[in-house]
């Protein structure tokens, strides 16, 4: 009896998480154009002042010419930060300054990698066996999966797969 209740609770929990993921997906997707502007400003502000106006105009025009996918444009805008960091030494002639900035950027990315169990915990298989389920892992994974995979049938698959993962994990 307890097992049955537990499985029903898990299934409902998964359903709720998938619904939440879908809701978050819509919200995040609506925020992407704003995120592009923020990233573009952040990248432009990495440049020396005399270069900012021309690069801003050029990057805005190029972002408009990208394929009509907000997610793709956001990725391009995110990489403009790296472009700006690399453009600085070209203008100021400091190779070591460029190296310092690159090391700082990559150490930040490495820290993000260290947090992978938080973001994708439910998908990362640990040495002991099946993934260890924790609520933040589960919600974050569902959210990222829904954001990355936009297709409706895949969202349906996630909806069905998540409760199964919960049940298997609790039973193991």
């Amino acid at each position: 009896m307890t097992e049955t209740v537990k499985s029903i609770a898990c299934w409902l929990g998964g359903l709720a998480a998938a619904g939440l993921a879908s809701w978050l997906y819509s919200d995040l997707y609506a925020c992407l154009p704003r995120a592009q502007k923020v990233l573009l400003n952040f990248a432009v502000n990495r440049l020396p002042e005399n270069m900012r106006a021309s690069w801003r105009e050029q990057w805005q025009a190029d972002l408009n010419d990208m394929p009509p996918s907000e997610l793709w444009r956001t990725i391009v805008a995110l990489d403009l930060v790296r472009a700006a960091i690399r453009l600085r030494p070209a203008a100021q002639g400091g190779v070591f300054a460029m190296l310092r900035r690159e090391i700082r950027l990559y150490s930040f990315l490495w820290q993000l990698y260290g947090m992978r169990h938080f973001f994708f915990g439910a998908l990362i298989k640990r040495p002991g066996g099946l993934p260890k389920l924790q609520l933040p892992n589960f919600v974050m994974t569902a959210m990222w999966a829904a954001v990355v995979v936009r297709m409706m049938w895949m969202r349906l698959l996630i909806l069905l797969a998540m409760p199964t993962i919960v049940v298997i994990t609790l039973w193991s």
């Binding site: 690069w55 050029q58 805005q60 010419d65 690399r86």
Partner: protein, 121 residues
């Protein structure tokens, strides 16, 4: 073990890595040659950063610093689109145009790959 194909021209430092262009040395990397090939395919031998990103699948963090280096070395020259942003309702595009120097230097490198860099501007 499989190793990625790397053209011989990219390892021959004597002929290619010492190319002198307008006083600035520019190493013809594979990315740079791929970008140069885009200019020969584009109409009027000119392309925007977005065109190069789409054609070469290179990320923006690679393309723009490379274009800046190419411009500094004289391989390309840049010019703004001749439109009024307030009239067309969008920012002006910045076109990069392959120069004769860039075409000749790229052609030397591309000869080893057995492809043509097109006619100079």
């Amino acid at each position: 073990m499989c190793r990625p194909y790397r053209p011989a021209c990219l390892t021959e430092t004597k002929t290619l890595c010492s190319l002198q262009t307008m006083g600035t040395e520019l190493k013809p990397t594979l990315h740079l040659l791929r970008a140069t090939k885009v200019f020969t395919n584009a109409r009027g031998y000119r392309a925007t950063g977005a065109d190069i990103m789409k054609a070469t699948k290179l990320p923006s963090g690679t393309v723009y610093p490379m274009l800046a280096r190419m411009e500094k070395a004289g391989w390309v020259r840049a010019e703004w689109e001749e439109v009024d942003p307030s009239e067309v309702g969008r920012p002006r595009r910045r076109f990069y145009i392959l120069t004769g120097v860039g075409q000749r230097s790229a052609q030397t490198a591309l000869n080893d790959l057995g492809v043509s860099a097109g006619a100079p501007v």
